[in-house]
């Protein structure tokens, strides 16, 4: 797949083990990586996340936390804030919601993936990483139904295999990749 020509946005989801995995993935993005990158990392609720501070030093692209109706900027890495779901409102804007948690999680990967699939259809790349939750499975299914591309981390390579293995069982994937491979593919952009 030619990322540069075929993809307008990238969404990522992770839970347990996700900080480490996302540090690797985000540090593989080159300075000219053009699609916006939207990320849900499960977080403990009720405190500020400091995710931008945590990830910015590892990433060649700007990193921020989403606010409501934020315009999507090329090549910007946007994290879901704690206690809010992050959604793609349309191809140019994000949205937030305080709907009930999914499988105890808010933000939920399913909200992001599902809404991004509706907005970007086949021009979307979804990457599901390590996690001890089945959140993200429905999202991967929605991405694939809409014709988007789903990469799922190889469960045997993941710190916590439940998230990727649940998605594979429910929806399959276009590719099952190790973390290293995912980084290599993104770095080749």
């Amino acid at each position: 797949m030619d990322l540069r020509r075929e993809i307008d946005a990238v969404v990522m989801g992770a839970s347990a083990g996700g900080v480490h995995a996302l540090q690797a993935v985000l540090s593989s993005l080159s300075a000219d990586f053009a699609p916006p990158v939207l990320v849900v990392l499960h977080l403990p609720s009720g405190r500020p996340s400091r995710l931008p501070e945590l990830f910015a030093p590892h990433c060649a692209r700007p990193v921020c936390e989403a606010y409501d109706k934020q315009p999507l900027e090329p090549g910007t890495v946007v994290f879901a804030p704690p206690d809010y779901h992050l959604l793609v409102e349309d191809r140019g804007h994000l949205a937030l919601s305080v709907d009930e948690p999914v499988l105890y999680s808010r933000p939920a990967v399913d909200f992001l993936f599902d809404s991004a699939a509706a907005a970007f259809t086949h021009r979307l790349l979804a990457i599901l990483l390590t996690g001890a939750s089945a959140d993200g499975s429905e999202g991967i299914a929605a991405v694939r139904r809409a014709g988007g591309v789903a990469w799922v981390q190889d469960p045997s390579d993941a710190a916590s295999e439940l998230m990727p293995s649940s998605a594979l069982a429910l929806a399959g994937a276009d590719e099952v990749l190790t973390l290293n491979k995912i980084c290599e593919r993104l770095a080749a952009y």
Partner: protein, 278 residues
């Protein structure tokens, strides 16, 4: 057929259904954020056993009783007492000293849902000795939620979190001073309620109903598109007295809208603003 045809068709069905609901029941959801509306419409279809959204539209048009139930799916009723404790602390530290200077105080909680925010504010005002001369308008479009809000009864398993938030918000006593428990739940002190008016009011279709000194509208605007957000903020501006306070949810802001210049940040991190002269 292209890949995205099913999505486009679903969006079309949503638009038709919202139009039908507006014409039939005068509830206007047409300018709500589409991304979360899609999810909720899917849930409603599952709940009412409809294979297509147009089937649900048909039933909604012909079964008014069903619309009352479906209203729970058009809106999101998630709330918490002293949600974002630092917001309530900011009210205490920055708004209360100004409110104190008025002989009588009017406050408007727009989109109050099941009342957690209302009872929180009433407790805060009581602790500051201001409740007696305050009038709180608590409004929402969901009659079921307004009923729950007015009852002031909440499940016992939520109270530990409420108490933690209360203390983190700078509560002066113990939350348990304000409720009595029984029947697996707690009921807040009726005396707090004497100064609260619960009323049906839509930010999408209704007008300003009173002059107020403070508006708190939290996690309501996120469900609106930009146009409807602008309408709602316009209502707040018109309702507020000169230098009145406006509090929003922690991820909402005025910076994108046309009303940005009509307010100045008071406690920016807590989304507390003040109205300035136009």
């Amino acid at each position: 057929m292209t890949d995205d045809a099913p999505n486009e068709l679903f969006d079309l069905e949503i638009r038709l259904l919202l139009e039908a609901v507006y014409l039939r029941y005068h509830h206007d959801f047409r300018d709500y954020a589409l991304s979360s509306m899609r999810r909720r419409m899917r849930h409603a279809m599952a709940r009412f056993g409809c294979e297509r959204l147009s089937d649900l539209q048909h039933r909604l048009l012909h079964e008014p009783g069903l619309f009352a139930q479906a209203l729970q799916y058009f809106t999101v009723q998630v709330s918490d007492m002293f949600r974002d404790p630092l917001y309530f602390q900011a009210l205490r530290e920055h708004a209360v000293p100004v409110l104190r200077t008025y002989p009588s105080i009017k406050l408007w909680i727009a989109g109050c849902s099941t009342g957690e925010e209302v009872w929180s504010l009433a407790i805060l005002l009581a602790e500051e000795g201001l409740l007696e001369r305050s009038l709180i308008y608590a409004t929402d479009i969901n009659p079921e939620s307004l009923r729950i809000a007015e009852a002031g009864a909440f499940a016992l398993d939520r109270v530990a979190q409420f108490s933690r938030n209360y203390l983190a918000a700078g509560g002066r006593a113990s939350l348990s001073d304000y409720y009595t428990s029984g029947y697996g739940g707690v009921v807040f002190d009726r005396r707090l309620k004497r100064q609260i008016v619960f009323a049906d009011h839509s930010l999408a279709t209704d007008q300003v109903f009173s002059e107020v000194h403070l508006v708190s509208c939290r996690n309501v605007l996120i469900y609106f598109n930009r146009e409807l957000q602008d309408r709602a903020v316009g209502l707040f501006r018109d309702a507020l007295v000169h230098r009145g306070f406006l509090g929003l949810g922690s991820k909402e802001s005025l910076q994108l809208g046309p009303h940005a210049t009509e307010f100045e940040p008071c406690v920016p991190e807590q989304r507390l603003y003040r109205k300035v002269a136009a």
